[in-house]
Structures are given as C-alpha cells and as structure tokens.
C-alpha cells in the first residue's frame, strides 16, 4: 500500500511540473501588467518601469520561472503585487471559506445522490426512478449561475428565507446557525450539478452491478432483496463512483468561481476573479497551482480510497 501511494505520488511530479509551466506560460504571455493598468496622468512611464522592475517582470522568462518555482518549493507562493503581502497569507485567509463551501456541497451532493441513485436503480422504471432521472438530467443541464440567480431571487428576495450573500451576518456575535443559514443557498448551487451527475453515476453503476454474476449468487443463497442490494451490491457499485468523485473536484473549484461571485462568498474563487482583473500574477499563478495540487491530491485520495474499497487492486 505504501508503495502504491508512493508510486502515485511520484506520478504526480511530472504533472505538477507541467502545470507549473503551463500556468507560468499563460501568465507570461498575457498582455498588460498590474502597473500599466492605471490610467493616471500623474503616473509616468518611469514609474511603471520602476514598478515592473520591483516586481521582477523585466527578467527573462526562464529566470522568472525558476525563481518562482524555487520559491514555491520552499513553500513561498510569492508576494501579491496588489496587496503587497505574502500570497500564502491571502490564500490561507480565504481557503477555509472555500473549503467549508466545498465540503458542505459535496456532503449535500453525496447524501442526496447516493440513496436516491440506489433507489432509482433498484426500482428501475418506477415513478421514483423517472423522477430521479429527470431531476438529475435537469440538474446537469442547468447553468449554475442561472440557478443561483433564480434561487437568490426566489428564496432571498421574494421569500426572504435566506440571506443574499456573505458568510455571516456582520456585527452580530458568532452563531453556527447564522453560518449555516448563509451556507445553504451557495451550497445548493455549487452542489447541484455534482449531485445530479453523482446520482446518475450511482444509478448506472448500481444497475451494472445488479446484473453481475455475484448478485445472482447472492440471490441464489436466498437473501432478501435488501441484503442483496445493500450488502452485496452497494459496495461494488460505489467503487466506480469513488473515482468519479475524485474527478468532481475540478468542477467544485470551477463552480466556486461562479458561486462565490454570486453570493459574495470570500473564498479563493472570488479572489481568483479579482486577481485576474487586477493582473495580480503571483496570486493567479499561486491559485492555479494551488487548485491543481488540490485536484491532484483529490485524485490521489480517490485512488487510495479506491484501493481500499476494492480488494482487487494490487499495489
């Protein structure tokens, strides 16, 4: 097992190098830099030059890249051009918010998707199955910003059930209920796509499993349907779903950009958009790198989990 994990870790190295080159290249080729974005008659080209110099933007690309990677390897993601402080600090301040949102959304997705996916597979062609299927199709086809706007309009503006943004009410003491209250809408919006697709994966995986020979064996042993499905079927059905879940991480990160913008959620997605707009390269690169690492770790965990769940995987 350790060797398996090690091997997977080693495999991530070239991926990370590739990612770092790609994100650096894109930034390097991008037009405009943070200094030149000001239109101000009082700021003279010399000032811009001076600022570029300070930011190291005048070095040749490979030097910039090596410097950057060198720092990253030491755990230093650089200094924000705009906020003039370590990118590490900025990300660490926002990361918990994004994580809370992502974890809540994935829990939301899993908790609803798996039972309904299983039910709809075991009752194929029932009303429940059709409803689940329809729902999941619609869930996958709805752009999440649109869903978000609609939910905001209905539940926040028209009905006033939920706050319209932020992660907690300002100027009131901390309360867990207040946090949850703020979390619900963004969680639904971020989780809906993955819930829908997870539901479909669970359903089809389960359908696949219940046609397997060992399910027939379990039936021949005289077990009740419930035992057959939940004891013999579910675990096998979950194996492919786990990998899918690993692959869902990027959609969560991507979705967080939209959801955080919609709900004024101060996480890394919002930070990313701000940084792109402001050409804050260290932050952009750090965030791309960071979330790529997150995805890589997610996949790694999924693989490891997969290996744990599926005894057939030899490591």
């Amino acid at each position: 097992m350790t060797s398996y994990i090690l091997r997977r870790l080693v495999m991530t190295i070239p991926i990370l190098i590739g990612i770092s080159i790609l994100s650096f290249a894109i930034m390097y080729l991008a037009p405009g830099d943070p200094a030149s974005m000001l239109i101000d008659p009082n700021i003279k080209p010399e000032d811009l030059e001076r600022m570029s110099e300070r930011l190291g933007l005048n070095d040749p690309p490979h030097v910039q890249y090596m410097k950057w990677v060198g720092h990253i390897l030491q755990g230093d993601l650089g200094t924000s051009f705009i906020q003039r402080r370590p990118v590490n600090d900025i990300i660490m301040e926002r990361l918990p918010n994004t994580l809370v949102l992502m974890i809540a959304s994935s829990l939301f997705a899993i908790v609803l998707a798996i039972p309904f996916g299983v039910l709809s597979a075991t009752r194929q062609y029932s009303v429940l199955d059709y409803s689940v299927t329809t729902f999941s199709f619609i869930g996958v086809a709805t752009p999440n910003f649109w869903l978000g706007l609609m939910l905001l309009m209905i539940f926040s503006v028209q009905l006033g059930w939920f706050p319209s943004g932020g992660i907690h009410t300002i100027n009131v003491p901390f309360s867990i209920w207040d946090r949850i209250h703020h979390l619900i809408l963004p969680m639904i919006v971020l989780g809906s796509y993955d819930m829908a697709s997870l539901m479909r994966y669970t359903r089809s995986s389960m359908l696949d499993v219940i046609r397997q020979d060992y399910i027939r064996t379990a039936r021949a042993k005289g077990f009740r349907e419930r035992t057959v499905i939940y004891k013999h079927g579910l675990r096998n059905a979950m194996i492919p779903v786990i990998t899918i879940f690993g692959l869902m991480l990027p959609t969560f990160i991507g979705g967080s950009v939209v959801v955080e913008t919609l709900f004024s959620w101060p996480g890394i997605g919002q930070l990313f958009i701000n940084s792109v707009v402001q050409r804050d390269y260290p932050v952009i690169m750090a965030l791309t790198m960071f979330s790529a690492v997150l995805v890589v770790i997610g996949n790694l965990l999924a693989d490891i989990f997969y290996a744990i769940v599926d005894p057939r995987i030899e490591y």
Partner: protein, 338 residues
C-alpha cells in the same frame, strides 16, 4: 544440464520438407511494479520451446490455460517480438525481421482465432474483411478481388451473396468459417489456428473441424493447431506437443502420444479427460494436486515437479532436456533420461 541441445532436436523429416522450425523460442513479458514501475520480473510465457512442422503436416499444441500456447503461436507469426530463439520459416530466420521485411512473410503465415465474436471487425461487412488482405498487399483489381472473395466464401461453405452482411448477422460457426476464409485469402503456407473450435458447440465444432480437414487437402496447408481439447487434437493432428508452464513437455506422433504417453503430465492430462462412454469401467484417474503455478516464478528444475506424482529431488533442481525416447517421440522428463 549442459547437453548439446542441437542433438535433442526432434528430427523426423529431411530438412527440405520443413516448413517451420522453432528453436529455443522464449517470450518473456515484463512484470512491472514498485514506485517507478520498474520491471521486477518476467512472465515466462514461452520458455525455451523448440519444435518443427513439416510441409502439409498438422502439429497440435495442447496444454492447460496459461501454459503459453497462444503466445507461442503469436510469437511465431511475429505479433510478439521474441525474447530470444529463432523462428525459421521456409529456411529463412524471421525472428528478427522488421515490420517492413515481414510484409512478404505475412502472406505465408496466417492465423485463425478463438473467439468468433472478437475476431471479426463488427463494423465491416464480411466482403470488406475478406478483401482487406488484398488491398493491404495491393493485389488484384477490384473486380478480381470480389470474385476471389466470393469463391472463398463458397469454399468455406457460406453463400457468396452474403458478402455485404455484417459479422453480427452470422452465428458463431459461420463466423469461424469467415475467419478461416480470411486466413486463406493470401494463400498462406502455414495456418496457425489458436483454439478455433473452443467456443463452439459440438455440432458446430464438427462442421468447422471438417472444414479444416477439407481445406488442408485442397490447398496442401500446414497447420499449427492450438487447443486444450485433447479429443479435438487427436482428431485433427498428425503430431502433438504438450505444453506446461511455457515449456514443451512431450512431443510425438499422435498415436504414440495418446496410446503411450510418457510424461507424467501428459498421462495425468489424458486421464483427466472425461470419456463420453458410460460403459467403460471407471478408470484409475490421476488427479493432480493444486493449480498451475504462476509463470512469473515458475518452479526451479522441472516446472512440473510441484504437481508431479513421480517427482524426485533430482526433478526439483535440474531442468530436464528434450530426449527422443522412441523414434519421433520426444519427452522432457528425468524419468526417461539416465
């Protein structure tokens, strides 16, 4: 064991009649593991196998699943690069020819496969499938190709007007006939048939076996016939080789082998075959212990010693060489050697 292996070569026919000669053929597949996926060992799928086939002859290869029959066949036809050893076809060593050099040889050796469902491209009509070898070698005109395809279909007992149908429209037996027809398109000298009837029902199997026989007569074909069904091999082959764990254990004329098997493995194998005859008295059956060991770490010495009822300590350490015990009857077993 340092005996000159050359002297142990089965020699039943003058060189001139030899179509194929396989010498010390080895095919090892790397096994990768560890952090860097380094090669940690090899599956010795074929491990030092030597035999020959004469013109017009049918050589059978039998053995249990995983013993390396298919690998042998596929290496001969150069689907796999041999690890070592020589494949001499029609006097020419083809074991290290490049893909380009092989092109002309490819016309002479063809293969028939086991799975009638997987061996035909489901997206092509059988006409196209059968014409493909021509177009690869740029033979004949379009019209001529068609005629030849129709003739071939007729030959294998299918209606020529079915050229435009897809494989899925045919039953397993019919598909197997198409597979045979395809092997015949380029008028090969040698056909390697890898379990061509294993997937078929008895009644269909008989049809296909008969077809093999008929075609051999008509086209003077030479077969390497791979099967695990001892009955089938007995029926169709002239000589039979028995493989176990990548090694050839015994090779002999059919009757000699079936009537008087020498190798304990061959004996066990033959005794294990259920006889469709309730009248005969229950024979003494040799039941082998356990399973075939893994080809990654085959036992030292004689690979069969772990299951052999007659194994001695000598067998555990020394690899037995092939010896001609009776004329044309070769066996690799210490029992018959000193």
């Amino acid at each position: 064991m340092t005996t000159q292996t050359q002297s142990h070569e089965p020699q039943t026919a003058p060189e001139s009649k030899r179509l194929l000669e396989v010498r010390h053929l080895k095919k090892h597949f790397p096994v990768k593991a560890g952090v860097l996926q380094r090669t940690v060992g090899y599956i010795k799928a074929v491990d030092d196998v030597s035999f020959h086939i004469d013109q017009g002859e049918t050589l059978g290869l039998v053995g249990e699943s995983g013993c390396g029959k298919s690998t042998t066949g596929r290496t001969i036809i150069r689907l796999y690069e041999p690890t070592s050893g020589q494949i001499i076809f029609g006097g020419q060593d083809i074991s290290h020819l490049s893909e380009r050099q092989l092109r002309s040889i490819r016309q002479d050796i063809q293969m028939v496969y086991q799975d009638p469902f997987s061996s035909l491209n489901p997206r092509k009509t059988i006409g196209t499938i059968l014409e493909e070898p021509f177009s690869v070698h740029r033979l004949y005109s379009k019209k001529e190709r068609q005629e030849r395809v129709e003739a071939l279909l007729e030959k294998v007992g299918l209606n020529p007007s079915w050229r435009n149908r897809y494989p899925h429209e045919f039953s397993g037996g019919q598909r197997q006939r198409i597979g045979i027809a395809r092997a015949l398109t380029l008028q090969p000298k040698l056909i390697i048939a890898d379990e061509p009837v294993s997937a078929l029902d008895v009644s269909i199997q008989a049809q296909v076996l008969n077809l093999f026989e008929d075609l051999q007569d008509e086209f003077k074909l030479t077969y390497l016939f791979i099967s695990h069904d001892l009955g089938v091999v007995k029926h169709i082959c002239d000589r039979v080789g028995v493989m176990y764990l990548g090694k050839l254990m015994e090779i002999a004329d059919k009757n000699s082998l079936y009537d008087e098997p020498l190798h304990p493995y061959t004996q066990a194998l033959l005794s294990a075959v259920p006889r469709p005859n309730p009248n005969i008295k229950k024979r003494e059956r040799i039941i082998l212990k356990g399973d075939v060991p893994s080809p990654v770490n085959p036992p030292a010495g004689c690979v069969f010693h772990t299951r052999c009822p007659m194994a001695t300590d000598h067998c555990k350490t020394n690899v037995p060489e092939m010896h001609e015990v009776k004329p044309g009857h070769f066996v690799a077993c210490h029992l018959y050697h000193e």
